[in-house]
């Protein structure tokens, strides 16, 4: 009789979801579905509220990437009020945003993803976590991880009050200036972070690239998906986080589109499937072609690997070196290796750290000119940033008093939702045979989505309601035969 397996809850990710794996009569994986089972109501319950309150409400969409929502909201307010931030305000925002990208990428890498590599995919579940990782790499390294996160979150707190819920983004500016005294410790933090970023890449080289089994895993077909990629690029088509144009490359790496974020509705469509609460984004001009990759697909991916695939290079020298090393190892661009997202994440963190060194030395950083008060309500604004997990759009419309009448949000995990379904199915087909599957093999299925660092809290900005992430393996009759 055919069977089905369940994992409950799926762990080490932000939010809730489940995976259903269906087996055929021979115990082979016939199909797998990655379902997002929560929905919240941000786009609706923000209506009727003053637009400037969005910088205070939107961070509650996600406590892991609150700075991304806070910044997208702040930039949407810039657009809404037709105002550019002052040069100093822009520097301060970038400083904070880079600090956030850094701490966010490291929390994912060290707390969520690295235990699979450093402690091992087959390690006992009780040890496969940050504490197990610290046991393995030593307490000194563990304390460094804690310190880099702490010090970068201090920058966020200094600028926007709270790291887990930043406050104070304003159209045309920032709420406070940076003193020369603060510049000193900010510079020290940036220097420390660049050193840490190099150390983290070396750790990746040693533990993953230096291990034949892991390297084979990274390069294995089970973890590859040929999709389009989307990310922001700067005016030189280099990786950028705070601002830029949206670039899309096709599965061969050729530019497919380059557009201003405010034109996002022309390029992005959200498909509705009745079996998941997350809407499946796709390239609207190609149209929805279903959950498939290969010729004719309209699916694209976002996030660290997408940024590197989309851009023509990194914006800083050390990150550029690391970028070249990665594509050389993986055999050229674009790289479709899902697990290489973990590698690309460390390279993105390095660029953010190097950029903060540059900002910390900028004479304009400590200017008092932090607000542009030339506000002219235009009643519509789009704010777009490269969130750690990928391109994030906030789109607001208001009445003539600046009271919200429309809110539309497109978040990173949504762009990745359909590809995650496919990656999970691929990994399940590779590692699951019958119901008697070793825990470590099911963990390998979890690794397929964990690489995306999926943030389901974000993806389901639309009604609160969550259940834990779970994997069900079901037989042909749909009966659950294994649950993890």
């Amino acid at each position: 009789m055919s069977k089905k397996i369940t994992i409950n809850p799926i762990t080490r990710l932000e939010g809730h979801g489940k995976i259903e794996i269906f087996l055929d009569d021979d115990g082979k994986v016939e199909d797998a579905f990655w379902q997002v089972v929560e929905l919240r109501g941000f786009e609706r319950f923000c209506l009727g509220r003053p637009a400037e309150e969005m910088t205070r409400i939107a961070p509650n969409i996600c406590g892991v990437c609150p700075s991304a929502h806070h910044m997208a909201a702040t930039k949407a307010l810039d657009g809404l009020y037709g105002v550019d931030p002052t040069p100093t305000a822009k520097l301060i925002r970038q400083l904070e945003y880079n600090a956030f990208v850094i701490e966010d990428h490291y929390i994912h890498f060290f707390f969520l993803a690295a235990p699979d590599f450093v402690v091992g995919p087959d390690a006992h579940p009780a040890a496969r976590n940050i504490l197990g990782l610290i046991d393995k790499v030593g307490k000194e390294t563990g304390l460094k991880v804690i310190e880099v996160r702490k010090r970068n979150r201090e920058i966020i707190k200094y600028i926007f009050g709270k790291a887990a819920h930043p406050e104070g983004g304003l159209p045309g500016g920032v709420p406070g200036r940076i003193t020369e005294e603060a510049r000193k410790w900010i510079r020290e933090t940036a220097d420390f972070t660049v050193e840490f970023a190099r150390f983290a890449l070396q750790l990746f080289r040693d533990t993953v690239l230096g291990n034949k089994e892991y390297l084979e895993m990274v390069q294995s077909e089970a973890y590859k998906l040929k999709t389009y990629y989307m990310a922001l690029v700067d005016e030189n088509k280099k990786v950028t986080f705070y601002d830029g144009k949206v670039r899309v490359v096709d599965p061969e790496g050729n530019q497919y589109a380059l557009f201003d974020p405010q034109d996002y509705t022309e390029h992005i469509g959200e498909w509705v499937e009745p079996w998941t609460y997350v809407k499946l984004t796709h390239l609207r001009k190609i149209g929805w072609k279903g959950l498939m990759v290969g010729d004719g697909t309209s699916l694209y991916r976002v996030g660290p690997l997408a940024r590197l695939n989309v851009a023509e290079g990194m914006a800083t020298p050390l990150a550029q070196e690391a970028y070249e090393e990665m594509f050389e190892t993986l055999g050229g661009k674009p790289a479709h290796h899902t697990l290489a997202m973990n590698w690309a994440r460390l390279i993105c963190a390095l660029q953010a750290a190097e950029h903060n060194q540059i900002i910390a030395a900028d004479p304009f950083l400590t200017s008092k000119d932090i607000r542009n008060m030339d506000l002219r309500l235009r009643r519509e604004g789009v704010g777009c940033v490269e969130a750690p997990r990928g391109t994030l759009f906030h789109h607001y419309k208001t009445d003539r008093n600046g009271i919200l009448t429309m809110v539309n949000l497109i978040v990173a995990t949504q762009h990745n939702a359909a590809p995650i379904c496919l990656s999970v199915k691929q990994a399940a087909q590779e590692f699951v045979r019958g119901t008697d599957v070793k825990e470590g093999f099911l963990n390998r299925v979890e690794m397929a989505f964990r690489a995306y660092d999926p943030c389901l809290a974000c993806a389901t900005h639309a009604l609160p309601g969550t259940i834990p992430f779970s994997i069900n393996i079901r037989d042909k009759e749909g009966k659950i035969i294994r649950k993890l």
Binding site: E43, R44, P175, G176, I268
Partner: protein
């Protein structure tokens, strides 16, 4: 290992910022991990629910829950945690008062679904399909949980022993709470593990607050360059410090941003929003309108200010079915 007190941490309708608040203990988290046995923490550890189910009743010293309650699964998890834990700590504003997601009680589920799956400008849904509790795909049945049409606080679902408010709770109060449980030095059941003062009493701008505040004009934060040392209310900017419990560390005030009430009501008050609204109306004078009522009416979205973190715990109860509240 077996002798260490067991602790479980779990999320309900939460943004995970409360998990980050635990990680924000920084190096102290290693000491906590040495002192206790964490048996469930889905964001960071691989323990599954059957692990929690395997413990006896009240075997865990402490169950920490963050997030509001919106669906049956969350209610079940909350009840399971209650059964297995001697003490339950409602962690963060969502568990304590409903939090920002509680604002969804001002809208209907239907309204949210229609926008998200039909009307938003990026939706491509030619067949007009909505997510369903049960779907058949190629002969396979897929299910989704159904939502309650209402957001609840944790204590509307299970018995709660202690409350730790904040969005998120600050590290000093988190550590105090853990220490209180570890040492057994606990206040009476039902206590809020935060200072008893109002935020105004601890606010660094308190010295600029006159004996009697008279709001004669209402300004929005982006319209003005707010003075970084003067009481917001004196500047005509809505700030809820007078109606909010202290303990947050004045982090918003510190970045020249007014309070929105994440720490909930001051001691002795159950409905933070209603109290804030009535107190605000007492501060408002005629000013430019020559009529306090008109000035009060000039405040856009008073519900959004006063119930930002507390709608589900308010006397408003069920949602309004009208348009914007």
């Amino acid at each position: 290992m077996a002798d260490k007190p067991k602790i479980a941490l779990c999320w309900l309708a939460s943004c995970a910022g409360c998990d980050e608040a635990v990680v924000d203990l920084n190096d102290a988290i290693l000491q906590v991990a040495e002192a206790v046995d964490i048996v469930l923490w889905p964001i960071a550890l691989d323990f599954k629910y059957d692990h929690l189910e395997s413990f006896g009743d009240k075997e865990l010293a402490l169950g920490i829950l963050h997030g509001a309650v919106r669906n049956s699964e969350q209610e079940e998890i909350a009840k399971l945690m209650r059964a297995k834990s001697k003490l339950i700590l409602a962690f963060g504003s969502c568990a304590c008062f409903g939090g920002t997601v509680g604002l969804a009680n001002f809208r209907t589920r239907e309204d949210i679904f229609n926008w998200v799956y039909r009307d938003a400008p990026t939706v491509v849904n030619p067949e007009g399909r909505f997510p369903q509790p049960e779907t058949r795909v190629d002969g396979k049945t897929l299910t989704l949980p159904e939502f309650y049409d209402h957001v609840y606080t944790l204590d509307q679902v299970i018995d709660v022993d202690y409350y730790l408010p904040g969005c998120p709770p600050p590290p000093d109060l988190v550590l105090n709470a853990v220490n209180a449980v570890a040492s057994g030095n606990l206040p009476p059941k039902g206590s809020t593990l935060a200072p008893r003062a109002a935020l105004c009493d601890t606010c660094p701008r308190n010295k600029t607050k006159p004996e009697r505040i008279e709001i004669t004009t209402v300004k929005r934060i982006h319209e003005v360059e707010a003075d970084p040392e003067t009481c917001f209310l004196v500047q005509g900017i809505i700030c809820l410090g007078f109606a909010t419990r202290s303990g947050c560390g004045e982090t918003c005030i510190g970045v020249n941003t007014p309070c929105r009430g994440c720490f909930g009501p001051v001691p002795g008050v159950t409905d933070a929003g209603t109290k804030a609204l009535s107190a605000l109306s007492c501060l408002v004078k005629g000013g430019q309108y020559g009529d306090p009522k008109k000035l009060m009416e000039s405040i856009d979205d008073p519900a959004g200010y006063c119930y930002r973190f507390s709608q589900p715990s308010s006397i408003l109860g069920r949602k309004s079915r009208g348009e914007n509240v």
